[in-house]
């Protein structure tokens, strides 16, 4: 190829200048670009929306955020009011049809409730007599006698002739959408408050990662040398101490579990982000476009914020989306082992740990917060997958 050019250049010099004819620039020099112009953002969005699972994850997270923010404003129950008569009422009620539009629900804690056909709780039925030795409780309803028999579990309802009444249809609990806990508090609104806590933790983790993690990693990577060495040793020291220990130590000073978790996440949760950003910056800062900016006279701040960090945005967003479920899980775990929010405030972790004692009788109390944690984690993970694929220019089609 060298030879060809050598030849062309040589012979071009031998042609008399008068033989050259200049063409109009429009015809020869302008080069056209076929294809529609996409900005980087449009391109990413196009690829992201093609991934159905990621889109679903995004919708779940949007729904979660909206309900966490707005539901407490109009929900009829609040998270701390205790209605002990309605303790441990499940979301799905198997009803006994007693005729004459009379429906009752027999709970596993030996309480009999009068329920409307729709599933609305009407009230607790007072027992007429308690036969402790026979393990039976007598009730009288509309002149007819019923007895609750708990000689063997599960508890049964018998009519006057001691025949067992079978349950009819199951209806959804209309008074308490997700049932109540052991103190008769509405579980749905407690779930929502749990989501508030989790999302607050996620928000704090995001802000901390963005502000401290990205800046710390960016400065460390760009300045390099001794500065980088010192900054990375600090990161390593922070990283060696487990987060649980931080939370316990901070709790000694602050006495509030949730503030301790927030503070612990705020002070140490950015180290992974700092490392990833530093690694990216280290490779990017040797690229020619950074040298080009320097030859123009661009300062450190301009190079960092206009050239280096925008080019690191893909890995930053992916790392962020991976760290958020981590932060949510840390809060849930801390609350579960009793280091988190103080009662009566609810978080998904405390809801799980409260439900554990009565798990065999009232499994819904554990399943609902566990499901909430799982769905949120899945949603974030699918979102990460979709973002990683969408932001990776090597997968551009």
């Amino acid at each position: 190829m060298n030879a060809d050019r050598h030849h062309i250049v040589d012979s071009a010099e031998h042609i008399a200048p008068g033989l050259w004819e200049e063409l109009a620039p429009a015809a020869t020099e302008k080069e056209r670009i076929a294809g529609e112009g996409f900005s980087y953002g449009q391109d990413v969005w196009r690829r992201f929306t093609r991934n159905k699972m990621a889109l679903m994850g995004l919708w779940i997270i949007i729904l979660l955020v909206l309900s966490a923010v707005f539901v407490p404003f109009f929900w009829t129950h609040n998270y701390h009011y205790q209605e002990l008569t309605y303790a441990n009422v499940p979301p799905l009620l198997p009803l006994y049809d007693l005729g004459n539009d009379q429906f009752v629900f027999l709970n596993k804690n030996f309480k009999l409730y009068q329920v409307a056909r729709s599933g609305k709780l009407l009230g607790l039925i007072k027992p007429k007599q308690r036969l402790v030795a026979e393990k039976q409780i007598l009730y009288e309803l509309n002149g007819r006698k019923y007895r609750m028999d708990y000689t063997q579990l599960p508890v049964r309802l018998l009519d006057e002739n001691a025949n067992e009444i079978t349950t009819g249809s199951r209806v959804w609990n209309k008074t308490y959408f997700l049932g109540t806990d052991a103190l008769g508090r509405d579980l749905f609104i407690r779930q929502i408050y749990g989501a508030r806590i989790s999302l607050l933790v996620a928000l704090i983790a995001t802000v901390v990662n963005f502000v401290i993690g990205v800046l710390y990693g960016g400065i460390s990577g760009y300045l390099g040398g001794t500065v980088d060495n010192v900054m990375m040793r600090i990161v390593e020291i922070i990283n060696t101490i487990p987060l649980t220990l931080y939370v316990i130590l901070i709790m000694v000073l602050l006495e509030s579990g949730f503030t301790s978790i927030v503070l612990a996440i705020g002070t140490v949760f950015w180290v992974d982000m700092a490392r990833i950003v530093r690694g990216q910056i280290l490779t990017l800062k040797e690229q020619e476009f950074v040298y080009a900016a320097k030859t123009m006279g661009a300062g450190t701040r301009r190079i960092l914020f206009r050239h280096l960090l925008p080019n690191t945005m893909g890995p930053i967003i992916v790392t962020l989306a991976m760290l958020i479920p981590g932060a949510i899980f840390i809060e849930a775990f801390m609350s579960f082992i009793g280091l988190g929010v103080a009662p009566p405030m609810a978080s998904w972790g405390t809801l799980c740990s409260d439900a554990l004692g009565t798990f065999r009788s009232f499994p819904y109390q554990l399943f609902i917060p566990a499901l909430a944690i799982s769905i949120t984690m899945f949603a974030f993970n699918f979102l990460v997958d979709g973002l990683r694929d969408a932001l990776d220019p090597r997968l551009r089609k």
Partner: protein
């Protein structure tokens, strides 16, 4: 010749750039990589100075040190009568307006997250030149000047081909009317057909805007075509320097002879008639240079003195400089 009366725009004297190389536990053992080791040359205003040499000989380091991406270890860089070697970054700002650079890799030299408009107007932005509307007009004009469609200003670099990207890089370099442009292998990454277009455009720009080029390449025929003067570098040192045609017609240094004989000739008859200068050994490590002349191990005409004393660059007559004991 009339060109000799024009003022010297850039004069480089004894320029050195050493990089520290650490190895051993905790980097206790320091070595120095002498990437540029005492290079001197001058470029007159409006001239093109070609710098050639094989990969790793220090051409790019030399260019980056002149434009002060690196702090020189020693030597002077006199630009428009001012030594810019010791200046700090704020003192360099006025100089940065006058020296610009065109880079080798058109894919790495443009920020992928900025539009062409932002890329080309960035030097205007940094130096606070013009209002946003004036900058847009300037970018339109520059795009047309380098043969691109001004309507493409809102596009991103990944939408352009290699040659088009290189034109964008050139438009960025000439945006603030510099007097000196350092071209660091601007055509090496391009197709042969595009290379000629870009080189012709560089020549047109030089004629129209009165630019001075420091043109770096490892392609001798292209350098001969574009440059008035030319220097050959070997392992951080200038080994020969003269008018381009003079070097091509009458290479003195054995290394230059070897380089020229390595250019392929498209005509087989001519190629057979030529006696190539054979190449015996690999280039030595710049960390472990031989005593005396750096080329001695590969040189067929080496003398006893070559192993003892390193030859300096001296005038062999008619402005043809060579660093070789054969021409003392």
């Amino acid at each position: 010749m009339s060109i000799d009366t024009t003022p010297v725009l850039l004069e480089v004297a004894g320029l050195k750039k050493y990089f520290p190389v650490k190895h051993g536990t905790f980097g206790r053992h320091h070595h120095q990589l002498k990437a540029v080791d005492g290079v001197s040359f001058g470029i007159r205003s409006g001239e093109t100075f070609g710098l050639v040499g094989e990969s790793g000989c220090g051409k790019s380091t030399c260019a980056r040190t002149i434009i002060r991406l690196y702090r020189p270890t020693a030597g002077r860089i006199i630009f428009e009568g001012q030594d810019i070697a010791p200046l700090n970054s704020s003192e360099l700002m006025p100089v940065r307006r006058k020296i610009q650079m065109i880079f080798q890799d058109p894919f790495a030299s443009l920020n992928a997250r900025m539009t062409v408009q932002d890329i080309i107007s960035e030097p205007l932005d940094i130096h606070n030149i013009g209002t946003p509307a004036e900058r847009r007009d300037r970018v339109d004009g520059l795009l047309r000047r380098v043969g691109l469609d001004a309507a493409h200003a809102g596009r991103y670099p990944h939408e352009f081909s290699g040659g088009q990207r290189q034109r964008i890089g050139i438009a960025r370099a000439i945006a603030i009317n510099p007097s000196l442009i350092i071209c660091d292998e601007p055509i090496s990454a391009l197709d042969v057909s595009i290379q000629a277009q870009v080189v012709n455009m560089l020549e047109d720009l030089q004629a129209d805007l009165g630019l001075t080029y420091l043109f770096i390449a490892h392609d001798l025929s292209m350098v001969k075509h574009i440059s008035d003067k030319m220097g050959v570098m070997y392992l951080g040192r200038m080994v020969e320097m003269a008018d381009s045609r003079e070097i091509y017609a009458n290479p003195l240094h054995p290394y230059t002879q070897m380089l020229l004989s390595a250019i392929p000739i498209p005509d087989p008859k001519k190629a057979r008639a030529r006696t190539p200068v054979p190449m015996d050994r690999e280039i030595p490590s710049p960390l472990d240079l031989p005593m005396g002349c750096r080329f001695v191990d590969r040189c067929r005409q080496s003398l006893a003195i070559c192993r003892e004393i390193e030859p300096g660059l001296c005038d062999t007559g008619a402005g043809h400089w060579a660093a070789c004991h054969l021409y003392r």
